[in-house]
């Protein structure tokens, strides 16, 4: 494939050899990679396993809530837990993350209460969290738009001189489908020519709703970075350790002023695109079965069991915690109040606006008319 010609990115071309970077095999065997040494303790791996289990539990609970009519829709992350937890745990507190609507695992890593996510999918708010508090922007639902916000944010950081070893960097999440968007390609160009401290984290889950990857790109997605002049690499997106290692390295490079990296996390959407979708209409069951053998949780479990790092009590405790989390998430969803009607008119502008005030006042009078009727009756 003619991808190694032409002017390459300035210096960094690691990971462009075409291999899938992996540090933990689907069988749970720890392997080393020369470019991505990972110094990680058993306790840290156990903590990652806990993250994976809890995040999957949030997802399972949300799907159930949607099926029971408690959520309007849900975008499942099933199968993508490692990509999200691995990259999410690679971030420092000052780093900024721009998610899509499927980044429940990253949200978890950024310390966001899962109930906040459910607010959005229940339709009582647009998210409602403070992006600055968690350094985690609202879910962006228009495909690919956030890549430009991330690039602009990164340029802002750069302009403020927040670079260096203790600097800040930005990570932006998007899927394989988004790589066909103009926004994403423009963000690659801008990040490249401005050398912006941003990491493009593409979860290639193989399907853009019903459109398979081979109908979206004639080359592997990570190789596109080369054409824009910065490094691209492909990591096993179901390998939490590899995702952690490559993201850490790419974020550090960005912080130190070395510019952007494209990470293609090669993974699989094991569930539907959203709860409105039925993937059995367009893909083969055998494909799903083959990916189940690469499950992101099971390989960590296998590793922990085989190395004796965790015993049955550990797994039972994690399961119990997941059960409690599920209960808490469910309760918070069922007790979420509907927003007050007059909040419709809040935060359209930063200051009072005559047109909005006019409509609010009329609506308030209309609402009050019910009270007067009741009083009069």
């Amino acid at each position: 494939m003619a991808v190694d010609s032409g002017a390459a990115g300035p210096q960094r071309l690691e990971g462009t050899g075409g291999e899938l970077i992996q540090l933990l095999t689907p069988e749970g065997e720890r392997v080393e990679h020369p470019d991505y040494p990972l110094d990680i303790s058993t306790e840290e791996i156990k903590a990652l396993f806990r993250d994976l289990v809890l995040v999957r539990r949030i997802d399972t609970e949300a799907i159930a809530l949607q099926r029971q009519g408690e959520l309007g829709i849900w975008a499942s992350l099933l199968g993508q837990e490692a990509a999200q937890v691995g990259s999410g745990r690679a971030l420092g507190p000052k780093d900024m993350a721009f998610p899509t609507y499927r980044e429940h695992g990253v949200a978890w890593c950024r310390g966001l209460d899962p109930a906040k996510l459910l607010e959005l999918f229940r339709g009582v708010s647009h998210g409602g969290w403070d992006p600055n508090e968690h350094n985690f922007h609202l879910y962006t639902i228009v495909i690919g738009s956030q890549t430009l916000h991330a690039t602009g944010y990164a340029m802002g950081i750069q302009r403020d001189g927040a670079v260096g070893e203790d600097g800040e960097a930005v990570i932006v999440y998007f899927g394989d489908g988004a790589t066909s968007q103009g926004d994403v390609n423009e963000s690659f160009i801008w990040a490249s020519v401005f050398n912006a401290p941003v990491v493009f984290f593409c979860q290639n889950n193989q399907w853009a709703i019903s459109e398979p990857l081979e109908r979206q790109s004639r080359i592997p997605l990570y190789q596109r970075a080369r054409g824009f002049g910065f490094p691209g690499l492909r990591v096993d997106g179901n390998d939490v350790l590899a995702c952690l290692a490559v993201t850490r390295k790419a974020m550090q490079a960005a912080r130190e002023g070395q510019g952007p990296t494209l990470i293609e996390a090669f993974t699989y959407r094991m569930g539907a695109h959203t709860t409105t979708d039925d993937p059995t209409r367009y893909r083969l069951a055998a494909e799903l079965e083959s990916w189940k053998l690469k499950d992101p949780l099971e390989r960590v479990r296998a590793y922990l069991v085989r190395t004796g790092a965790a015993d049955a009590d550990f797994f039972a405790a994690v399961d119990a915690e997941a059960g409690e989390l599920g209960t808490r998430v469910r309760k918070s969803c069922l007790t979420m109040p509907d927003p007050q009607p007059l909040t419709i008119f809040e935060n359209v502008y930063s200051e009072p606006n005559a047109q909005v005030a006019y409509e609010r006042d009329r609506f308030a009078a209309y609402l009050d008319s019910f009270d007067s009727e009741e009083v009069g009756a």
Binding site: H126, S145, I189, N347
Partner: protein, 331 residues
């Protein structure tokens, strides 16, 4: 007082605000070399590459990155060279930027300005570079819209836009760029949302914006020779809209003519007319008249463009018909 052209006033306002607040940055195509309309002359030299960012030709990225930079704490001013090109970045302008405050429940502000050349004015820019597109933005709650009619207004409204904590689109009229006027030397800011009565009159209210302000003033001069005293209101901004100024004028004159450069279908003048119909019905002694650009793509040939654009004779004829001096109407 210094005499400035409209384009110099833009540059002066940018310089004033960039000197006042180091978080103000300018980005866009060719802005570092002064811009294709020479509205950013000297800024790169004065404020340096950290403050003035020349960008690739990607309007979507200009708007989207401006939003990201605003989230990072800057106050970006992004130039969209021709306002027709808002169509190439509409997702960012309509779906993203104006929704940030609302969707975050007020936790994030979006203090950014999008600005650039707008309008026809008989310059022959044709269907894709000569449109007046304030209406596009007016369909999207969350965006403020300023459309200055004079150099002093361009200065003051742009300065106010940059200081505003909401996204503001400033539509600069490209046919006014060479217009000259005395502008204040001191810090100059015109609050958004305050229309100006630029000519008083008792017989009829002409509501105008940007280039149609000058057209209406010229028409009012001519109408005076026919014994008609027209009051001219310069709206200055469409959002916030100073409807109170329009209604107060209609209460004085009892007749309303709205003059807009863009195609009439769903033009901003329709909003003014609707407000008058609701709020000033009993003040009116005649139907509300709208005079607008034609409902066709803008022709490029000067002879045809002149027919489509709003003109002084069309305004004069419309007002005289309204007051019963002519039998024909206009539309």
């Amino acid at each position: 007082m210094a005499e400035l052209t409209y384009r110099q006033a833009i540059a002066a306002a940018l310089a004033q605000e960039m000197a006042r607040d180091e978080r103000v940055v300018l980005l866009g195509e060719d802005v570092a070399s002064g811009g294709v309309f020479k509205t950013t002359t000297g800024l790169r030299e004065r404020f340096g590459p950290d403050r003035v960012w020349n960008t690739p030709i990607s309007e979507q990225a200009i708007a989207g990155a401006a939003m990201g930079a605003a989230m990072a704490g800057l106050r970006p001013v992004a130039e969209i060279m021709f306002s027709d090109f808002y169509a190439t970045c509409w997702d960012q302008v309509a779906n993203e930027i104006p929704k940030v405050r609302y969707m975050t429940g007020g936790q994030l502000s979006m203090p950014l300005v999008l600005r650039g050349a707008n309008g026809s004015g008989g310059l022959g820019f044709g269907s894709q570079h000569g449109q007046s597109v304030e209406n596009w933005a007016m369909c999207v709650p969350g965006i403020k819209i300023a459309s200055p009619a004079t150099p002093a207004e361009a200065f003051g409204l742009l300065a106010a836009a940059i200081r505003d904590n909401d996204p503001v689109i400033v539509f600069e009229h490209k046919a006014l760029y060479s217009r000259k006027e005395q502008c204040p030397d001191d810090e100059h800011v015109i609050p958004l949302g305050r229309a100006a009565v630029v000519r008083p009159g008792r017989d009829c209210t002409l509501v105008a914006l940007s280039i149609t302000v000058g057209i209406c003033l010229a028409a009012a001069d001519e109408l005076a020779t026919h014994g008609i005293e027209a009051e001219v209101i310069d709206l200055r901004t469409l959002v916030p809209l100073d409807a109170a100024a329009v209604l107060a004028s209609v209460a004085r004159t009892s007749r309303l003519v709205v003059v807009e450069e863009n195609p009439g279908q769903l033009g901003w003048g329709a909003s003014i007319a609707a407000i008058a119909a609701q709020e000033a019905f009993y003040d009116l002694t005649a139907p509300v008249i709208r005079i607008s650009g034609g409902n066709v793509p803008l022709p490029v040939a000067a002879s045809l463009e002149a027919e489509v654009d709003v003109s002084v004779p069309r305004v004069v004829a419309g007002v005289r018909a309204l007051l019963g001096q002519l039998r024909q109407s206009t539309g």
